[in-house]
């Protein structure tokens, strides 16, 4: 009933009108409190999970840090709020968190009826299915009659129903609230298949008892653009979160890294000078210091570095850049210029 209590508290908050307070200038609130409340996943390796020392790590976590670096000048001033798939939107709506960075799929329904705005796509993903090798299944189309473990409150749950109906396949879903419980049930053989975003499948396979006994089927059954979201009605805050994302991409494109950012600050390249706040007043225009992007790269790194460190070649998960490469390298990540 803990979850219900939480939701109830939210309902009460909505009822008593604390919402309007929460909706007032998020930037002022964050600056005043000196800390950014960031909603993250309770545990998904590569995106947001505590490491063995209890520090939060992951792609989404670094996005929280980047926002804190830009807004507060200090990437460590983040309060991470772990949320389940079910709680995440209510947490944002009620003002408990300032931004939601929780591998959340950007859909039209969520963008319109939940009172949220998605600020961008920090990971282009798609839904996949995982099965045990011993099952002898090579393709998702052979899964008729299968039982599938899935997490509640996700687009995954809906895509699964769509995919099986479209392909005229029978299936039974077994729905859990938390990823851990879902995976445990799958590993115990309760389900023939486990489905979630492909990135999640690769990350979670590493944590299974025998990773080699499971294969990810080749079919990607949906589009899952994952990205940060904020409350509607605060366009300043929305713009900040969106441009933190673009700054990370632009920094990578311009070749600015955590290591060379100080030398780059002396560069003569006008693009780089604008990004790092040496020319123009772009930071001030969004209500931040002019060195906002400098702080992001200095303290957190650029998009490519974040990707490599958490989910890419520099991590155990080792996912190829693929669609998440910059547009100039054949991927989909494209940021408008800072000028």
């Amino acid at each position: 009933m803990k979850r219900a209590t939480k939701l109830l508290a939210t309902a009460a908050a909505v009822a008593l009108g604390t919402i309007s307070a929460a909706n007032a200038q998020t930037l002022d609130k964050v600056k005043k409190q000196g800390v950014l409340s960031c909603g993250v996943n309770v545990g998904l390796a590569g995106f947001s999970a505590p490491d063995d020392k209890g520090n939060w790590t992951g792609l989404d976590v670094d996005y929280c840090r980047a926002i804190a670096a830009a807004v507060l000048g200090d990437a460590t001033k983040v309060r991470f709020v772990p949320t389940t798939a079910k709680e995440r939107f209510t947490a944002l709506q009620s003002g408990e968190i300032d931004v939601l960075n929780r591998n959340t799929t950007w859909t039209m329904g969520r963008d319109t009826s939940l009172g949220l705005s998605f600020a961008g796509t920090n990971y282009y993903d798609g839904q996949g299915l995982m099965v045990k090798k011993s099952l002898g299944v090579k393709s998702a189309t052979e899964l008729s009659g299968a039982t599938v473990c899935v997490q509640t409150g996700t687009t995954t749950e809906l895509n699964l129903a769509d995919y099986f109906r479209q392909n005229k396949l029978e299936y039974k879903p077994v729905v859990f609230e938390k990823a851990d419980e879902t995976i445990t049930a799958y590993q115990a053989g309760r389900c023939d298949a486990y489905t979630t975003d492909a990135s999640g499948l690769y990350a979670q396979r590493l944590q299974m008892q025998q990773p080699d006994e499971h294969i990810v089927l080749p079919e990607i059954i949906s589009k899952e653009p994952l990205g940060p979201s904020v409350r509607q009605g605060d366009s300043q805050w929305f713009t900040i979160v969106r441009w933190v994302h673009f700054a990370l991409l632009n920094a990578e494109e311009a070749g600015i890294t955590k290591a060379n950012v100080d030398q780059m600050a002396n560069s003569t390249n006008p693009d780089i000078r604008r990004i790092l706040g040496k020319e123009g007043e772009f930071g001030k225009a969004i209500g931040l210091g002019n060195d906002w992007a400098y702080q992001i790269v200095k303290q957190v790194g650029n998009y490519g570095e974040i990707f490599d460190k958490n989910v890419g070649a520099g991590s155990r998960i080792n996912i190829a850049r693929g669609q998440n490469n910059l547009w100039s390298k054949g991927g989909l990540q494209y940021a408008p210029p800072i000028r």
Binding site: M1, R3, A4, L7, L8, T10, A11, V14, A15, L16, G17, I19, S20, N23, A85, K86, F89, T90, Q93, G109, R110, T112, S113, L114, G115, L135, L143, S144, G145, A146, T147, C149, T152, G153, T154, E157, L158, L160, A161, D162, R165, Y171, K172, P173, V174, V175, F176, E177, E181, T182, T184, A185, A188, G189, R190, D192, R231, Q232, G233
Partner: protein
């Protein structure tokens, strides 16, 4: 309070108390206070509702119950009514609600049976039985329920073999990690007559019971009601069944593809939840039963012994009826607890009301306020109905025994 009005009309026999000013009449004042309170409450609720609507609109969050008739787009693994991903959210609501009621009903029945057995067992003069029952109560009521559910689901049921290595049980049953598979009965032509015979048997045995009771009251002669009932309920339909050439066949579950097909499948989530809830609640019921029996004065038992009643009859005719009056009110609370605790289902993947409606529907529609309101309303309704029934039952028992 001296009367200043009505001075001119003194009463004929007894002087009526002079009618005071309306404002000073206690009934009037009470009524005014009540009305004021109601108005305040209505105003408070109206303000809250308005505020909610305003805030939701300002935040561009959809509101209202328009989602009720929209296509849900998700599936539910177990449903007592026809349901698919093409059904509406409204239908998902009912599917979830029925799943919760199923668990609550099964849980209440099993918890009551186990609870009474353990409670009586704990008072047994047999050292071993009373200690075993005592250990049962102390262990189960002192461990968190969620932990017990995890134990049953992940530690016990999840360790069963896969579908291809199922354990075959007698009677065509198969048990594996996906659940318990039972043969499904298929009624042949003429099976209706067997059911009719069963109905007739039940009606007749009730009639016999009433007659035997009346006769025992009048003459003191006892009648073997139990055996007659058994004969009427079992032998009568059995005879009809055989006479009609056994018009009932079974469809046995067979392993095809990934799973067993055909037959009736009972999900392991349901089994874990019912076992967990009923054994846990039974430990509390056992204590309530023990307290109820201990609350009956010793003299009653001694009087029954003096009359020569056997210990079984003493328990059934003397002790239990008196104990029930003590037992039933707290028992009602346990039934309500069990129903509410069934919402822990979400942790082990059983599609109960909270999991389906307050989980998936809430998240897919994003309408937290409406969904939570409906959820509270549903649990309130279930609880009120349960306690209304138990209160009626309590009154019934109390009347008969006094």
């Amino acid at each position: 309070m001296t009367a200043t009005t009505n001075r001119q009309a003194p009463g004929p026999l007894v002087t009526p108390p002079a009618k005071p000013n309306l404002l000073y009449r206690p009934e009037f004042r009470q009524a005014v206070y009540q009305v004021l309170l109601v108005v305040c409450l209505i105003f408070a609720f109206w303000t809250i509702a308005n505020n909610v609507a305003d805030n939701l609109a300002r935040q561009n969050i959809a509101s209202g119950f328009g989602f009720w008739n929209r296509t849900s787009g998700f599936d539910i693994s177990q449903s007592l009514i026809e349901y698919s991903n093409q059904s509406t959210y409204g239908r998902a609501f009912w599917a979830g609600l029925l799943n919760t009621l199923l668990v609550a009903a099964l849980g209440i029945v099993f918890a009551t049976i186990i609870g009474f057995l353990v409670g009586i067992g704990r008072l047994s003069t047999n050292w071993l039985i009373s200690r075993i029952c005592g250990a049962y109560v102390e262990i189960l009521r002192n461990l968190p329920l969620l932990l017990q559910l995890f134990f049953w689901y992940f530690a016990v049921l999840k360790n069963l073999p896969g579908p291809r290595q199922s354990i075959s049980l007698p009677g065509g049953l198969s048990l594996n990690v996906r659940g318990l598979y039972l043969p499904a009965p298929i009624a042949g032509p003429g099976f209706d007559y067997v059911l009719a015979a069963l109905g007739l048997g039940i009606v007749l045995s009730i009639a016999v019971a009433i007659w035997a009771r009346a006769r025992q009251r009048a003459t003191g002669e006892r009648f073997p009601v139990l055996w007659t009932t058994l004969a009427l309920v079992l032998l009568l339909p059995g005879a009809v069944y055989i006479a009609l050439g056994q018009p009932l066949s079974f469809q046995y579950p067979v392993l095809r593809g990934f799973n067993f097909q055909g037959g009736v499948a009972v999900q392991p989530e349901l089994i874990a939840l019912v076992v967990g809830l009923s054994t846990y609640t039974a430990s509390f019921i056992a204590e309530i039963v023990r307290a109820g029996i201990a609350g009956v004065p010793r003299g009653q038992r001694e009087a029954a012994n003096a009359l020569g009643l056997s210990s079984g009859l003493t328990m059934r005719l003397v002790i239990l009826p008196q104990a029930l009056r003590i037992i039933i009110p707290p028992l009602t609370s346990q039934y309500l607890n069990l129903t509410k605790n069934s919402s822990l289902a979400v942790a082990i993947g059983y599609p109960d009301f909270v999991s389906v409606f307050t989980g998936t529907v809430l998240n897919q529609t994003g309408q937290a306020v409406e969904v939570i309101l409906l959820t509270m309303l549903v649990f309130l309704t279930i609880s009120l109905i349960t306690s209304a029934f138990m209160n009626w039952f309590n009154k019934h028992i109390a009347l008969v025994e006094r």
